[in-house]
Amino acid sequence: MEVDNDASDRDGHRSTSESWQCLETIDNAHKRTVRSVAFEPTQGRALATASFDGTTAIWEKGPNDETYDCVATLEGHENEAKSVAWSASGQLLATCGRDKSVWIWESNGEGDFDCISVLMEHTQDVKMVLWHPSEELLVSFSYDNTIRIWKDEDDDWYSAATLTGHTSTVWGGAFSHNGKYLASVSDDRTVRVWTWGTTPDESSDANAGLYYRPGISYECVATVPDSVHTRAIYSVSWGRPPNKDAAPNGGDSSSGSDLGYLATGCGDNTLRIFKVTTDGSLDVTLTCTQENAHGLSDINCVEWNPTYPGWLATCGDDGTVRIWYLEE
């Protein structure tokens, strides 16, 4: 997709479909539904695609080529792969799927990937994997109603925490820009925001074996109640505060701190924007509602533009991708 003029001049004017061009289509990339796609974050040259056919393909453009070639196929999932995500460094890749497992892959520097861990602690289908914005910490979201945090100790990956609280399938989540908070959304129609607990978790399963592995205790610090969204929430994205000069965390500021905006995509056809602030305690306030954002169809995915604040992409069961601009 290409924007035909500088987004920062946009001033909130609506963009029409004529200004966006489809640059490339990769036909027959997979044998079944392509469920998740992710660009490599540091250079943006490689693209990973995860499919219901169980494989994850890595695509790259040749140096002079305009088209994407498949440079690697990661196999291992027993059935549908549902999500793929690159770590912030671009060195690690995570995938997950209906076989209840989370796989971690490492780039071997030659365009291919080695599987370095298969994590089998979820008890049901895993819907999404998400990396922390700066640390090598992975989060997974599952049909078993839990969220798991994964860390590694000397290249040995383990479950550092299990976040319980949702009462149905957790479809996904997003980190705040500063990486201190995690938002999650669920079939239970709630949005939950979590952060590190105040006490280290000495009792976690991670410490049950021979080796000490630091557990993390998480706590839920805010919940958007199930009266706000009227059907399952499929996606959440956390946009950073537009004012780059704003303090990233509260500190001693008496005026509190701006943590940006959460956008949610819901099965009730509505796109919702929440302003998140912290002044000691976290506050999540609904600020904008766009009903029938994709007509009379579920919204399946929302994603803030990482570079241009206020720009949001959504996709829905109406088969379209829409670009939005949030005017303050």
Partner: protein
């Protein structure tokens, strides 16, 4: 959905009283449909398949605007929570319907429905 065939018996879901009018709610203004079905026996292994047949039939016939919830009638199946969760997870349903064998079975049950 009344003429959907039961996967195991040569009778329709209506004839078997798996589905009946009283347990169907339609809210046209809200574009919402709720269907509760009653498996023939509490440990019926076909419950998920029956629910899937109902969902496919409605996907193919109702206007797209409808949100459809399909549930096992409370107290009529030993794994009703598990069955309900699968039937109302649209990703699981979509993946299941990509299984050609399963789709054939569903289509056979639906052959008499139209």
């Amino acid at each position: 959905i009344r003429k959907i065939n039961d996967p195991e018996h040569p009778l329709t879901l209506e004839q078997l009283r798996v589905i009946n009018c009283e347990h169907i709610t339609v809210d046209d203004a809200a574009s919402r449909v709720v269907i509760e079905f009653t498996p023939t026996i509490p440990h019926c292994s076909m419950a998920t398949l029956i629910g899937l047949c109902i969902r496919v039939r409605l996907l193919r016939t109702l206007p797209e605007r409808f949100k459809v919830d399909i549930r096992v009638r409370e107290g009529t199946h030993q794994s009703e929570a598990d069955v309900n969760k699968q039937l109302n997870d649209k990703e699981r349903v979509a993946a299941a319907l990509e299984n050609t064998y399963l789709l054939d079975v569903v289509n056979q049950c639906l052959a008499t429905a139209a």
